[in-house]
C-alpha cells in the first residue's frame, strides 16, 4: 500500500515539472490596453516567420494587435533570420523577422527596425580592471587566459559565465566575437539575465554578459556589477539607440518589394510593432525600444 503512493507521487512530481517547464518563457501580456483608435476596417490574416530572437517579442505584440483589431489573426513562426528572408521573398510569409541588418544582396526587401538588442559585458564592481579589449575577452572565454593576473588584475582564477544554448544574448555574443559555442570554456552556465547578474554580483572574479537593459538597470540600483565599455563606448541604452555601441544589433521586420507593395494590414502591423504602444512589451523582453 505504501509503495503505490510513492510511485504516484514521484510520477506526479516529474510530470508537473515537465508541464511547468514546457510553458513559454516570455511573460504574458497583461491585458493589452486596447487603443482608442477606430480601426474596425482591418480584417484578415498575417503570417510572420523568421528569427527566433524576434519571434517571442512579435508573439506578444501580435496578441495585443489582435485584441486591438478584432477580426485579424497574426500567425508567428520561428526558423531563423534566413528563413524570414526566404519566406518573405517567396511570399510564404507576409512579413519576415530578421535579427540583423540586411545584407547588400537583400535589396529587394524593405526592412523596418522595430527594436534593438544589445549585450553588455559585466564584471563584479570590485574588479579593479577598468575595461577589457576584445582580444582579452576572446582569450578569457576560450580559456587562454584563466587568471586575472595575466591581464593585469588581481591574482585570482577567472569565473567565466556563459549563457545556455538558444539564448539570443549568446547568439549575439558569439556572432560579435566570431566564436563558436564549442570553443568556449565556461566555469558556469546560466539561464536568464537575472541569474547572470546575481552570479556575477556574488563572485568578485566573475565575468559575464547580459542584455544591456538589465545590466544598466541593475547597476543603477546599486547591484555589485559594472558594465564594461566596448571600444571606448559606454554601455548604455542611449548608445545602443544611437547605434554607437558595437555589441548590439537591430531587430527588423522585412517585406518584399517597396513599402507601398505591402498590404494595408501588414503595414499597419509593422507600424504598430515599432510604436510606443508596445514599448513595454519590448522592454519586458530586455530589448531596447526605438522610441523612448
Amino acid at each position: 500500500m505504501c509503495r503505490a503512493r510513492i510511485r504516484l507521487n514521484a510520477l506526479c512530481a516529474f510530470l508537473l515539472l515537465m508541464v511547468a517547464c514546457s510553458g513559454e518563457p516570455q511573460q504574458s501580456a497583461d491585458a493589452g490596453a486596447p487603443s482608442e483608435k477606430l480601426t474596425g476596417q482591418l480584417t484578415g490574416q498575417l503570417t510572420l516567420t523568421g528569427s527566433s530572437t524576434v519571434a517571442p517579442l512579435i508573439g506578444e505584440i501580435a496578441k495585443r494587435f489582435e485584441q486591438t483589431h478584432p477580426g485579424t489573426r497574426v500567425d508567428v513562426q520561428t526558423g531563423g533570420s534566413s528563413r524570414g528572408v526566404a519566406d518573405a521573398r517567396r511570399g510564404t510569409a507576409d512579413i519576415g523577422m530578421v535579427s540583423r541588418a540586411l545584407n547588400a544582396d537583400e535589396g529587394d526587401l524593405t526592412a523596418y527596425p522595430i527594436a534593438l538588442d544589445g549585450v553588455a559585458m559585466i564584471l563584479h564592481r570590485d574588479n579593479p580592471l577598468p575595461a577589457l579589449s576584445e582580444e582579452q575577452i576572446v582569450a578569457i572565454y576560450t580559456g587562454q587566459v584563466t587568471n586575472w593576473r595575466e591581464i593585469g588584475g588581481a591574482d585570482a582564477p577567472i569565473t567565466v559565465v556563459n549563457k545556455a544554448e538558444g539564448r539570443s544574448t549568446l547568439e549575439l555574443f558569439l556572432g560579435y566575437f566570431k566564436l563558436r559555442n564549442e570553443d568556449i570554456k565556461p566555469s558556469i552556465i546560466i539561464g536568464d539575465n537575472q541569474q547572470g547578474i546575481r552570479t556575477v554580483a556574488a563572485d568578485p572574479n566573475a565575468i559575464g554578459y547580459v542584455s544591456i537593459g538589465t545590466a544598466t538597470y541593475e547597476a543603477s540600483r546599486g547591484t555589485a556589477i559594472k558594465a564594461l565599455s566596448m571600444r571606448g563606448v559606454e554601455a548604455s541604452l542611449e548608445n545602443v539607440r544611437n547605434g554607437s555601441f558595437p555589441l548590439s544589433r537591430p531587430l527588423h521586420l522585412v517585406t518584399l518589394g517597396a513599402a507601398e507593395q505591402a498590404s494595408a494590414l501588414a503595414r499597419s502591423f509593422i507600424e504598430y510593432a515599432a510604436s510606443a504602444e508596445v514599448s513595454d512589451l519590448t522592454e519586458a523582453q530586455y530589448f531596447v525600444p526605438l522610441t523612448q
Binding site: 505504501c2 509503495r3 507521487n9 510520477l11 516529474f14 515537465m18 559555442n181
Partner: protein
Amino acid sequence: MSRSRSDLPLLWTLRALAALAGAITLLIVAFLILEAWPALQAPGLSHFLTDASWFPASSTPQFNLIPMVAGTLAATLGAMLLATPLGIAAALFSRFYAPPTIASWFRRLLELLAGIPSVVYGFWGLVVLTPLIRQWAPPGQSLLAAILILSLMILPTIALLSETALRSIPRAYLQGAAALGLSRWATITGVALPAAHCGIMSSILLAAGRAIGETMAVLMVAGNIVKVPDSLFAPVRTLTANIALELGYALDGHRAALFVSGLILLALIVLLVSMSDWIVRADPTAAPAASTQARELRHG
C-alpha cells in the same frame, strides 16, 4: 457487502474521475514520447549516449546526455546519503527524546523548512553557500552546492514523514517494549524502527523523487556545465536544469532532444520506483503491518 441504489451515482462519478486522472497521466507520457520522437528518429538514440558533448543548437549538433544523467544521479545520491541519516535522527529525536513542547516547536520548524519555495533555497544557495564554497575551491557553483541545497530541501520530507510513521506505531508495541524493560535505544532499534520501516522507506523514496525532480534551486547553484563531474567541487548540470535552461528557446531538433532528456528522467524515476519495490519486497522486516502483528501475536 450491500450496495444501496443511492451509492450508484457516487460510484460512477468516482470511477469517471479516476479514469480521468489516469488518462491525463497517460496522455502526458504519450505527449512526451510524441515530442521526443523526431530526435529519436533523426539523430537516433545512440547519439544521446555516444556524442562528444552537448551542443544541440550548433551547426554540427551533438547530443550527449550522459553528463546530465551522471549529474542528476550524483546530486540525488549525495543528497540522499546526507539527508537520510539526519532526517531519521531528527524524527527519532522529535518522537522519543524531545520533551513535548520542544518536539512540537521542532516539528513546526521542519514544516516551515518543507514549505520554503525552492527558488528561495536556490537564491540563498547562490548568495550565501556558493561564495563560501568558492573560498575553498572556485568557482563555488558545484556538485557540492547542489548536494547541500538538495539535502536541506529533502531533509524535512524525510523527517516529517518518518516522524508520522513512528507516531502511528500501535501503542501496544511500545507498551510491550516498556513492560519487557527494554531501554529507550533498544525500543527504537528493536521495535519502533522495524514497525515503522514501511513508512520510513516511503519517506526516503518520496524525498529521492523530490531530489531528482528539483529544478530551480539546483539550476541556481550547480553551475550547469555539461561535464561528468570529476570532484565534489566540479560544476554539474542535471537533466531537469538542462530542460529548464534551454526549453524556452529551443527549436525543432534541439527541442525534441530536450524531450528526450525528459524521457530519460522519466526512465530514471521508473527505475527508482522499481528499485524501491524490490527493496521493500526483499526485506522481510518490511512486511505489511498486519502480518507483523500476526507474527508477533504468534510468538506471544
